[in-house]
């Protein structure tokens, strides 16, 4: 056969066969690449029909909040509540979400978040259907509260919240710029708690740091006030949970009778004294592994999330997850303490709840709860224990009705993942149901909520300091976060705005300058994607208060040596507390600065909510800004 009849070489046919097979496989279709940040990855989006909250899902493996089911089952949902669970399809007439042994979990509960902006929408995208907020504005809480008992269609996680936290003047919690009531002594405790209850707080969060604690950065209430607050909360039938960051404070909080600690700590290894107190007093702990990991080791997000193309991450989450608390310079090894402490608490039977502290740097709403569970598993919790920490345990500790379990009568807040025994699959939910309505594969992309800016002028200040597009241009400084910098705006009738003031470096994040809010509101932000760059004119203010200053004045300024100075440009994306930064150099003549949108790596240009120009060098400053444009 080798030298075949027509003289073709014998290797021809095998080669052709191999080529044909290779060709065939190269022709087989691949999944569409998910290049845009908004799209869901979802190779299989099961049950994306969101027109009904009555259906059957099965056959699935169930994690019922406490354990995995031994056999595959069908779960019937009737009007947003779980009505039946059985081995065979209990209602063949209902729409069937036909699964194939994937795992159905109760909607997850994140026991430590800070819910503002679009947090609740982001959370539910990853199957986190209930969050416990540890500090937000009472207005947010009041708006969210009625929704908890609804079973109407919703894309948002339900919110329980402490509302305003209890902290000392200038203590932790005050640095975010929100004017909040503070407490200075035990005698104010009851009144303080009653006020919170009146505002709608579900529980009381107390910020406490022991006088004996190492590295005391901010003022704290004293131990007597702590005890008074805990007692007052209990008198008002509220849970009292305490923010601590070190062992001594934890011990004080435990002895004060707190119901729970909302952080773990890693400045030291946990000692028997504390373990015994926690155990004897039946105190739960929310170790917040994810945020501590991001502060110290900061490898988890890289390992589990950022390099996995199957995980749906928008630019905001992506940039948040990549951030760290690098300015604190915390050694990675401290995280070993965190793991050891969590393991020790687990071994002593102390109830651990999963909480992320999102959206702090290194965490993102929703997705970070998967990381939290993976970190708990890494610290030694079983998969079931980790899942309990995000379902039945927080539901029980915080008395959340109809949540945290898959049982008849429970709310159909559900999460379907490929394999519940592999916590990594939580990062890629197959489907999420909120109130029995499918959550994924149905919602319009988030970008559409932010208004799109049109090409051309955003603000030219020809008539006033009001922008042509957007909400406002205003002076801003760290004064709102208890800094001592000041900033003021002066509109000049020749059509520009002068920004002047004094930058003082005495706060953690000093700034003073001018902000531009491009959206209809701060929360909404604006979509810049119609253009490809933003431009604006800047100069150091002339000594004369006029754009038509005489040539001699300008010359004088030049010879005076005020040649150039630096401006800190900050671009804020919706949902992120950390801006993308650029440093600009300006001098005393108008210069146009242009910023390519494509070069903004940490910014979601479809939802920018603030652009801020701040002085960079301390002391008095004065600069002019004009012609903010969105360029093609």
């Amino acid at each position: 056969m080798t030298p075949s009849k027509n003289g073709l070489p014998f290797w021809l046919w095998p080669t052709l066969a191999v080529l044909a097979i290779a060709g065939f496989f190269s022709l087989l279709p691949e999944p569409e690449l998910q290049t845009t940040s908004q799209t869901e990855p979802a190779p299989q989006r099961l049950g994306s029909d969101n027109t009904t909250n009555s259906f059957v899902i099965g056959p699935v493996e169930i994690f019922d909040g406490e354990q995995f089911s031994t056999a595959l089952k069908y779960v019937e949902i009737e009007d947003g509540k779980i009505s039946r669970i059985s081995a065979q399809n209990p209602a063949p007439n209902k729409p069937l979400v036909n699964t194939n042994g994937q795992t159905l979990l109760p909607g997850l509960i994140d026991a430590h978040v800070h819910a503002f902006g679009d947090a609740l929408t982001r959370q539910s995208q990853y199957g986190v259907t209930t969050v416990l907020d540890m500090f937000t504005q009472p207005a947010v809480l009041q708006a969210a509260k009625p929704l908890r008992s609804e079973t109407s269609q919703s894309n948002q996680a339900d919110l329980w919240s402490a509302g305003i936290l209890a902290t000392a003047p200038k203590g932790h919690g005050t640095e975010y710029g929100m004017q909040i009531p503070v407490i200075t002594g035990p005698e104010q405790a009851l009144e303080f708690v009653k006020a919170r209850k009146a505002e709608g707080s579900d529980y009381l969060k107390i910020v406490y740091q022991s006088a004996k604690a190492p590295r005391r950065l901010m003022p704290s209430i004293d131990q007597a006030t702590l005890i008074a607050l805990v007692n007052a909360a209990h008198a008002e039938q509220m849970l009292a949970v305490v923010h601590i960051q070190d062992q001594q404070s934890a011990l004080d909080a435990a002895r004060a009778g707190a119901d729970g600690l909302v952080h773990g700590f890693f400045e030291s290894r946990i000692q028997d004294a504390l373990l015994t107190e926690l155990k004897n007093r039946d105190i739960f702990v929310i170790p917040t592994m994810a945020v501590h990991e991001a502060m110290s080791r900061h490898t988890a997000n890289e390992k589990w999330l950022l390099n996995d193309s199957r995980i749906a991450l928008d630019a905001v989450s992506r940039s948040n997850l990549a951030k760290s608390f690098s300015q604190f310079n915390i050694p990675a090894s401290l995280y070993d303490n965190m793991m050891a402490n969590t393991a020790a608490m687990q071994q002593h039977g102390i109830r651990l709840l999963a909480g992320t502290d999102a959206p702090n740097p290194g965490t993102a709403h929703g997705i970070s709860l998967s990381v939290e569970l993976l970190l708990l598993q890494e610290a030694g919790l079983s998969v079931e224990a980790a899942l309990r920490a995000a379902t039945s345990l927080p539901a029980t500790e915080f008395s959340l009705p109809e949540r945290g379990f898959i049982k008849i009568g429970m709310r159909a807040d559900l999460l379907l993942v490929e394999n519940g025994h592999d916590l990594l699959t939580l990062t890629r939910p197959l489907q999420v149901w909120k109130n029995g309505y499918a959550r994924l594969g149905t919602e319009p992309t988030q970008a559409s909520t932010a208004k799109a800016l049109t090409l051309g002028t955003l603000a030219d200040f020809s008539q006033s300091e009001m922008p042509t597009q957007g909400l406002a241009v205003s002076a801003t400084s760290d004064e709102m976060m208890h800094g001592s910098s000041v900033a003021k705006l002066t509109w000049h009738s020749d059509g520009y705005v002068q920004v002047h003031g004094n930058l003082s470096m005495d706060s953690q994040f000093p700034w003073a300058g001018v902000s531009y809010l491009p959206g209809a509101s701060f929360e909404q932000g604006a979509n810049f994607q119609q253009g490809s760059s933003i431009s604006f004119d800047l100069r150091i203010s002339a000594t004369a208060q006029s754009k038509s200053a005489s040539a001699t004045d300008i010359a004088a300024a030049k010879t005076a040596g005020a040649a150039s100075t630096q401006i800190q440009l900050m671009i804020f994306t919706n949902g992120s507390m950390q801006p993308e930064l650029r440093t600009l150099t300006i001098n005393d003549t108008w210069q146009s600065h242009s910023l390519k949108l494509s070069e903004l790596s940490q910014t979601d240009t479809s939802q920018i909510n603030m652009i801020l120009w701040s002085a960079k060098q301390p002391g008095n400053f004065s600069f002019d800004i004009d012609n903010i444009k969105l360029q093609h």
């Binding site: 056969m1 190269s26 087989l28 279709p29 691949e30 194939n100 394999n419």
Partner: protein
């Protein structure tokens, strides 16, 4: 003795190879080609083997499917599709060729048994490849299946390799069964094994006792490996299934070897 027909080669000893390497390679290629030719000239084998898996996939995966199952069913019917030719090409054809005396002729001629089995495995694999190409095409065109290239390739590889245990199983059957009994018996094994292994309907829809029983079936482990490749939920790890299949292969090799010894020594 000096006639032109007579073999002039000197006496070979047991240590000098009978055939050169090139000749041995040619022999292997020829055995494979001839077995494949013989196979493809049997319409009663080719048509059902090609049509059934594709038809099942179209029926249950595309026409009556609920959607979202297309990848899962592709893996299932892929397993089902490649198992058949392996079992039949070995089970029925070996029984036939043994009964016909064709095997005995080869054994008396200086034809290595290994080449015979190699040829049959090659033709079975070739046939499996055709089924894979057909099924993948149907899945891609009508079932809307989209997989990354390495997953397509991985599934094809598992399906191809997965035919080997069934080739061995078929070999044992072919060496044991009579030519008359073989087709019916192989069908009686193939179809229930496919069904109980979860290749027609998902295993978890079967009663619990049958689900337990599936562990004893190579078809079940085969399909679980295929599910793992495409990432449709299977049991957590693949090594128990790999182990089970390896064990099955070893048992079949032992049984086939024994049957082969018996058939060479008791032939009438």
């Amino acid at each position: 003795m000096n006639s032109p027909l007579h073999q002039q080669v000197t006496e070979s000893t047991a240590f000098t190879p009978w055939l050169s390497v090139r000749q041995r390679l040619q022999l292997l290629a020829l055995e494979a080609r001839m077995d494949a030719l013989s196979l493809f000239r049997t319409p009663g084998f080719v048509i059902p083997s090609l049509i059934f898996p594709v038809m099942f996939y179209l029926l249950f995966g595309v026409l009556f499917g609920q959607g979202g199952q297309n990848v899962y069913l592709l893996a299932s019917y892929g397993c089902f599709g490649v198992m058949g030719p392996a079992l039949f090409n070995f089970g029925v054809n070996v029984a036939n060729e043994r009964t016909q005396g064709w095997l005995a002729m080869k054994q008396i001629a200086p034809a290595p048994v290994s080449a015979y089995i190699f040829g049959k495995i090659c033709s079975s694999l070739g046939f499996a490849l055709i089924i894979i190409v057909l099924l993948f095409s149907v899945a891609a065109i009508f079932g809307g299946v989209r997989l990354e290239t390495h997953i397509w390739l991985g599934l094809a590889a598992v399906l191809m390799l997965g035919t080997v245990p069934f080739c061995l199983f078929g070999l044992w059957l072919g060496l044991t069964l009579s030519a008359k009994a073989a087709p019916a018996t192989v069908n009686l094994i193939y179809l229930p094994m496919a069904f109980l292994g979860g290749l027609w309907i998902p295993i978890h829809l079967l009663p619990a006792a049958l689900q337990q029983f599936a562990w004893a079936l190579p078809s079940y482990h085969f399909s679980q490996l295929a599910y793992q490749v495409v990432g449709v939920k299977a049991t957590a790890t693949s090594w128990p299934h790999l182990l089970a299949i390896l064990l099955f292969c070893l048992v079949m090799v032992a049984l086939a070897t024994r049957a082969f010894r018996q058939t060479t020594n008791t032939r009438q």
